[in-house]
């Protein structure tokens, strides 16, 4: 009996020792965060900035259009004159998002400056002998795009620890208001913790107070993530004929409102470097469309994450 228990004890000890050793050896090492210096800062010129007019457009850019050749026997030479597209009537302001906590935008943002483009259009060739399409030019004005009002930043709240200037050498029994307030303040008992924050200029530690760019992913369980991914999957489609699409993967920063509905989605910085590839750009835009599709935009968030806006990081793979 004794030897049996001793043997069992030794076996138990050996198993526990192995498990502890295995856990120590193979504990997952934390991933080294990507340094901002590793990323190539690329300006994304695409659908997210359609009004800038900086995107090369074969149709709209006059430099890309070859000089038209007019067929000698063209019955009616096609001539166009520059035109300017008048801006559309001012659109009504978009409906306010369902976020009562968000500040009301005080005034709509001014429309972006119009971009002048001059596309060339070629008319069809007449009957034989064939004529090349005659190209004509026109001036095109990018109509102003309705932009949602930009909320004004709230006025900076005065710090609770802010101190007014006081008279340095008050006369005895001065009735100056500031001195009186100062006197009253010193008489009050401190019953709240200090609310001051670090001062970087004074050498404060910027990373000492938590992550300013934190997302809600860390508060999701694996099952939650799987459920959300499965919910968005039906809206996720790709162009399988795009070169290299099987290797694409894009990270999105997805913001939800208090009800868990996606309100905005942007390309995560770690994927921005690839956006110069037009195929990747289109892939990423389709990912944004998937997560913002009305059929998939209401995410199945756990109840404890509802009631306030959240930001999640999504990864879209083929």
């Amino acid at each position: 009996m004794y030897f049996g228990m001793r043997r069992s004890g030794l076996i138990s000890f050996a198993i526990h020792a192995l498990l502890i050793a295995a856990a120590l050896i193979v504990l997952p090492t934390p991933k080294i965060p990507t340094s901002a210096d590793d990323e190539v800062s690329v300006q994304f010129v695409g659908p997210s900035q359609p009004q800038t007019g900086e995107k090369p457009n074969k149709v709209a850019a006059p430099a890309d259009i070859p000089v038209p050749h007019i067929a000698p026997k063209a019955p009616t030479p096609k001539i166009t004159k520059p035109i300017v597209a008048p801006p559309p009537p001012p659109p009504p302001p978009p409906p306010a998002p369902k976020q009562p906590a968000l500040p009301k935008p005080p005034a709509p943002a001014p429309p972006p400056p119009p971009t002048v483009q001059a596309p060339s259009i070629a008319p069809p060739t007449p009957p034989p002998p064939p004529q090349p399409p005659q190209k004509t030019t026109s001036t095109v004005v990018q109509p102003p795009i309705p932009l949602p009002p930009i909320p004004q930043p709230p006025a900076p709240a005065q710090s609770a620890t802010h101190q007014q200037h006081v008279v340095k050498t008050p006369v005895p029994l001065s009735s100056a208001v500031l001195n009186t307030l100062q006197d009253l303040k010193t008489l009050q008992k401190q019953d709240k913790p200090p609310t001051s924050t670090y001062n970087p200029d004074a050498g404060g530690a910027p990373n000492g107070g938590g992550s300013p760019n934190s997302t809600a992913n860390s508060r999701l369980s694996g099952a939650d993530r799987n459920a959300i991914g499965a919910h968005v999957k039906p809206c996720w489609s790709i162009d399988a004929g795009a070169p290299g699409v099987s290797t694409f993967s894009v990270f999105l920063d997805v913001q939800t409102d208090a009800s868990g509905t996606v309100r905005n989605a942007t390309i995560d910085p770690q994927s921005q470097a690839n956006m110069t590839d037009p195929y990747y750009n289109a892939y990423a835009q389709r990912a944004i469309s998937a997560v913002m599709n009305y059929q998939c935009a209401t995410l199945p968030l756990p109840p404890y994450m509802l009631g306030q806006p959240q930001t999640f990081v999504f990864q879209f793979s083929p």
């Binding site: 359609p50 457009n57 166009t80 060739t125 059929q295």
Partner: protein, 454 residues
């Protein structure tokens, strides 16, 4: 205390080590099944995407006041056909549109998103007098609720189809990420008349079959037209004087000229990517060599010899290689060689014989005709001969040509009929889907797709 026998294997020395090793793998397996960490917890992974077309809505183009416009209706129809026939877009049935879903020029987003539309194309057409039209269009992203593109075009009223094709290409570029192919033309050989003495004429049309024009009168048989990639020019084979030779047809002037007198006959012309030189086959003494000549006919260079039949050459898009068809190995197969004729290497090894190779403008595929016991087929393979795929089969399918962005192939399909045969032009995606007939007024063969016109 004695453990049950079923536990003994686990508690043995080997079992303990095995269990430990298995436990040590668990964390790694768990990491492999989750998305990469982002520094704030694993990302929410979405995968298993569908290869689905983009649903978009194309309401009829109106006049600036919002009233119906005949030409606006036609423009919207051509845009819808262009995008829908590409297989990459799915135009939503207009009958399902919610009325008044454009308010003050801006979409009522909810009315479009409820239809599942991801993009919306709106536009209007204004008659500016003097036969001039002003067509304004906007591309909207429904999911992101913003305008993606807004452009206006002015042209003659007769040119409305071209405007529609250009708008389609803009939409294609914005949503797919590469240039479209709608604003392009196709040269082909029109065949009419009795089977015993058909009249074969050189013809050209829009890529979708519209605006068909005959370029030759049929007095001499024409074959194998090829678009110059940089000029308004065609190369083709004409049987003037019953002697097949390569001619050039100037699309601006309508004139044609003989490239040169080489050998007994010259066939199978193909332009170089810069349009300045021409590959063709010159027959001599029972063989045919591939030669390179200037587009004006001078400076002939023999790239192969005449000991075998070497025909139908096609440049790679960068001009560094040439794929051609040769029977030097006993039957017709495909070979790739350098642009100077060096290093010829066979790339086709499947059953049957291969002919009429065409190099994709993207450079990633070579289309070909193959025939054997299973009949004729159109297929594609990579330039090294790997990844061969058959796209379409039939009694006779030949003459593959790529669209400007390499996504679609056009070829002709000939089927026997009681009084001869029926020959039609067909398009098909390089994935083998979305095969469609192209309307032509007569039997058609030997298509050649032009580059983009704009």
């Amino acid at each position: 205390m004695k453990l049950p026998a079923r536990f003994l294997p686990i508690l043995s020395r080997r079992g303990v080590l095995g269990a430990g090793a298995a436990l040590s793998l668990l964390p790694r397996l768990a990491r492999a099944q989750t998305a990469p960490a982002t520094g704030n917890g694993p990302a929410i992974s979405v995968s298993g995407a569908q290869n689905a077309p983009i649903p978009l809505a194309i309401p009829l183009f109106t006049d600036p006041s919002g009233a119906a416009s005949d030409i606006g209706t036609q423009i919207a129809g051509v845009i819808s056909d262009d995008l829908g026939h590409s297989g990459l877009f799915r135009p939503i049935d207009p009958s399902s549109f919610v009325p008044n879903s454009i308010a003050n020029g801006v979409p009522v987003w909810a009315n479009w998103s409820i239809l599942g539309a991801q993009a919306l194309i709106t536009g209007d057409v204004a008659d500016q007098g003097g036969g001039q039209l002003r067509v304004e269009f906007r591309l909207w992203s429904i999911t992101q609720q913003k305008q993606v593109q807004g452009t206006a075009y002015t042209t003659t009223a007769a040119n409305w189809r071209r405007i529609a094709h250009i708008i389609g290409d803009v939409v294609y570029q914005e949503l797919i990420g590469e240039s479209g192919y709608f604003d392009s033309r196709v040269a082909y050989i029109s065949e009419a008349g009795p089977v015993t003495s058909p009249v074969r004429r050189l013809a050209v049309m829009d890529y979708d079959g519209a605006n068909n024009q005959f370029l030759t009168d049929g007095s001499s048989m024409a074959l194998s037209p090829q678009f110059n990639p940089t000029r308004q020019q065609l190369a083709f084979v004409s049987f003037q004087g019953n002697n097949p030779r390569v001619y050039l047809f100037d699309l601006q002037s309508g004139s044609q000229s003989l490239v040169g007198s080489f050998g007994e006959m010259t066939i199978g012309p193909r332009f170089s990517p810069d349009g300045n030189s021409l590959l063709m086959s010159v027959s001599h003494g029972g063989g045919a060599a591939i030669v390179k000549v200037g587009a004006s006919g001078g400076g002939m260079t023999e790239l192969t010899d005449y000991t075998s039949i070497n025909v139908t050459p096609s440049f790679s898009p960068d001009g560094s290689q040439i794929v051609f068809n040769s029977d030097r190995d006993g039957n017709q197969q495909l070979f790739v060689m350098g642009a100077d004729g060096s290093g010829a290497k066979r790339i086709s090894f499947g059953d049957g014989q291969y002919a009429e190779p065409a190099w994709s403008p993207r450079g990633d595929l070579i289309a070909y005709t193959r025939w054997g016991s299973g009949g004729f087929s159109i297929g594609v393979m990579q330039p090294d001969g790997s990844g061969e795929r058959i796209l379409s089969q039939g009694f006779l399918v030949e003459g593959a040509t790529f669209c400007p962005n390499g996504r679609v192939i056009m070829f002709y399909r000939q089927t026997p009929t009681e009084d001869g045969h029926d020959s039609r032009l067909v398009t098909i995606g390089i994935d083998g889907f979305n095969e469609r007939l192209v309307d032509t007024p007569t039997n058609a063969s030997d298509p050649s797709w032009s580059p983009l016109l704009s």
